[in-house]
Each structure stands twice: as C-alpha cells, then as structure tokens.
Symmetry: C2
Subunit: 247 residues, 2 copies
C-alpha cells in the first residue's frame, strides 16, 4: 500500500540551481529526492507544482511523491528537515488522494516580486530583493500592473528559448503593494499558469514603465506584438518568490 | 592634511571569520581595508569599535580610519559600497575630530540576541536567529535578565581563553522583547564594554533558566563565583547583532 504524500516547502533559493533536478548541480528537487530516498531506502520521484528559477525563492512550493513508507507523517517531516540544508524547510506533509499530482492539478499560482528602492541595499535584504536605487513612479507602476490582467497570449513575456507552444495564460491578480517606510515595492501576480521567465519579464517591463522608458498606454501593443524584444529586460531571480499554489 | 573618517556599517556576518583582520581569512575589517586601500591607493588602518565573533552580525558597527584622500564623502561611501561584497554595507561616512578613535572613545554598546522558538526555523531566518524549538518560560527569562544589571566582575561569563585581566563591566540595560506571533525572543543588553563571548555566555545561561535547568535565584551566586564552568553554554554566534555604539 503506497501513500501519495503532499508537501508544502519553503526555500531560500540563493545557492541552488533552481527547483528542477539536474546532474551534478545542487537543486531543491535534487535535495528532496536525496533526503527522502535516504529515509525510505528506496528510489522515488518528487513532483513539484512547477520549476522555479535558479536564485528564486518559495514561501510555499507544493510537491508530491508516492511512498510505501509507513513512518508517521510528523516524524517523516521532522526526519526530512533534519537532513535537508537549513535553506530548505518542509512546512507540512499530508496524505493526498491517490491521483493527486502537484503539477497537473495546480489551478493557479501566486508569485511576488520584491523591489527595494533605498539608496543602499541592506546586507540582510540583498538576497531577497532586486535593488533599484532610483526613483520609480508609483502611480505609473500601479496603472501598468493592471494592463496584464486577463487572458492573453504572453509570448512577449516568455523566454525566447522556451519550447512551450501554447502561450495563452489568464492573469487574475496583478498589483503592487508599496511599503514606503522600507522603500519596498512588492508586485503580486496570480495566474492559471506561467511561462518561462514570465514574471521576471513582466517585472522588467514594469520597471521600464516606472522609470518612464515605456508608456503605460503602449503595454497593450507590446503584449499583442508577441515579440519578446519589445518587452523590458528579465528582472533578476533573487527578487522572485513563489507565494502559494492553489489546487 | 589627513582627514579622520568615521563610518557606520552593517553586515551579515554569516560567511565571515568575524570583524578582526586575520591572514588568509575573510573578515569584515579585512574587506574594508582591502577596498579602501584600493580606492585611496595607499596603505591604511581601520579601527573598529571592537571585534565581533565569526558569524555574528552588525546593524551599526562603527569604525574609523585616517586618509589623505580628498574624495567627497558621498562619493567615497558609494565607491566603498560598490567594491564591498553585498553582505557588508557602509551606511554613513563622516569627518570626525582628529583625535576620534572608534575603539577607545566607545562609551557603551548595545547588543541584541535573537532566539526563534517556532517548531521549524524558516529558510529566511536561519542565518539570523538561534533556533530553540522548545518551550521557554517568558516570565523566568524576563526576571533572569534583570539579575545582570549593574556593575559586576563578569569572569563567569567571559571566555576562559581570554587574556583580559580587568573583568568588571557595567550593564545598564538587560531585557527581553517577545514577539509571540513570530515566535521570536530578542534579548537586549547594553554595557560600557563586553568581554569575549560575554553576550553569548549570558544568553546560554538565560536559556538554561528559561528551560528550568538553572533557577533565577541562583544567578547572583553564579555571577559572584567568577567561574566560567558555573554558567550555561555559549549560545551560537548567528543570533548575535551589534545594534549600536554610543560615543
């Protein structure tokens, strides 16, 4: 009798080569697989809700794996955490329905991108923000965020190397939260799915709007162009957090 | 005409071998010396308000150095920050009186020690807290903190390898701040000076009180014994922050 286990995990992605397992590289999925296999003494596959980029973080990534192990779940969680590096933590582990799959069953995801506009970036923040020490127009940023809402072909904001063919996604939330006392801007975006580098390319474009290089009104044209070269640069991974996955 | 410059700096000490310069080891003082010498193209000495341990952090360490350089101070600060690793930041740089010395003129220091009591330690906190996932008695901790106030010979709380002879110091503040929603306890302590490992040894002892291994009432006896072996263990450096130095 094998159980299908669903885990919620957090990670500081700074020193990992992203979520996805890769030979000879330290990845989150690779660490989980290594640790769980060591505990259950059997090979297994960990399925994540999706990849996250090298250097990007997660507050609550979801993954699942099947296991014959009968270890009580609180002990299993504790054992996994005791063997994982402290930059990865399992927050919860629970039994899921037999057919639950972390990737295929994900309905929507929430990402947050953190931008710090203070003159200097604090040593305690620098791993977790994109530092942009120049004036950014709050009003323009907020207005621009709204242009991404809805169902669109997001080819303009997809990495040009991507092999995905169907690039239509629906963004259901797209807004900024400003914490002026901390010089912190957090862009939040929810969608039924994201293309490769999509959040980072949207943010790179929003920053061009915030500094006056791209006009808000041009965003619909840029979006419809389905041409990556019309958008802004890819914002660095360190500001990006996978906040939650909805099933 | 040489200027005497006073700097306030922050650092995440996780990957450094402490403040003090040491051959072949990466230290905060060593990084500052390297960077400033590269900018001014002349050898110089950086004086800190005092050492901090390997792995300990600073919100506002103070240091000073003399320089013939005429670079305007805002540019000097910017140049230093552009060459320092992001884990060290110069917050301010200003001209000090000719005879100002960061160490000899320090009147008192404020340290903070952060303890996280949550079941798991978040990947985003683990570098900056001591994780103690067990019940600690708030009332006992607060009461115990008060016993350290005043002028005492702190031999009990000084590293036994220390070569300092005069071990009398005056603690002017010693209290806990509890943030129960975050499972965070912050111990704050101010004194006219600190012995080697003094804060970490006090915290290690306070934690023994908090978990019921040492009684509050025994603290005066332990303090008067001037015997390191009567105190608790040395708490790890990662929870320790130099908050400020008063001149």
């Amino acid at each position: 009798m094998s159980r299908n286990l669903r885990l919620e995990i957090s990670y500081d992605g700074t020193s990992f080569h992203g979520w996805q397992i890769q030979p000879h590289l330290d990845t989150i999925q690779g660490q989980l697989k290594r640790v769980v296999e060591r505990i259950v003494q059997a090979p297994m596959q960990v399925h994540g809700s999706g990849r996250t980029d090298a250097g990007a973080h997660a507050l609550a990534q979801v993954c699942s794996f099947k296991s014959e192990s009968l270890i009580p779940l609180p002990n299993f969680r504790k054992a996994i955490n005791s063997l994982l590096p402290p930059a990865i933590r399992v927050n919860s582990i629970e039994e899921a329905p037999e057919n639950f799959h972390a990737r295929f069953d994900a309905q929507s995801k929430h990402y947050r991108y953190r931008i710090m506009t203070s003159r200097d970036c604090s040593p305690f923040d620098h791993r977790f923000v994109h530092h942009v020490p120049r004036p950014l127009d709050f009003v323009k940023l907020s207005a621009a965020a709204g242009f991404f809402l809805g169902e669109h072909d997001f080819s303009t904001f997809c990495d040009s190397q991507s092999e995905v063919e169907f690039k239509v996604r629906t963004i259901t939330n797209s807004f900024f939260v400003f914490d002026t006392s901390r010089h912190l801007m957090e862009y939040n975006v929810c969608a039924n799915g994201f293309l490769h580098h999509m959040v980072r390319n949207i943010v790179g474009t929003l920053l061009e709007v915030g500094r006056g290089k791209i006009a808000c009104e041009d965003l619909p044209v840029i979006l419809r162009s389905r041409n990556r070269s019309n958008a802004g640069p890819t914002a660095p991974a360190k500001g990006l957090f996978l906040v939650s996955v909805r099933y």
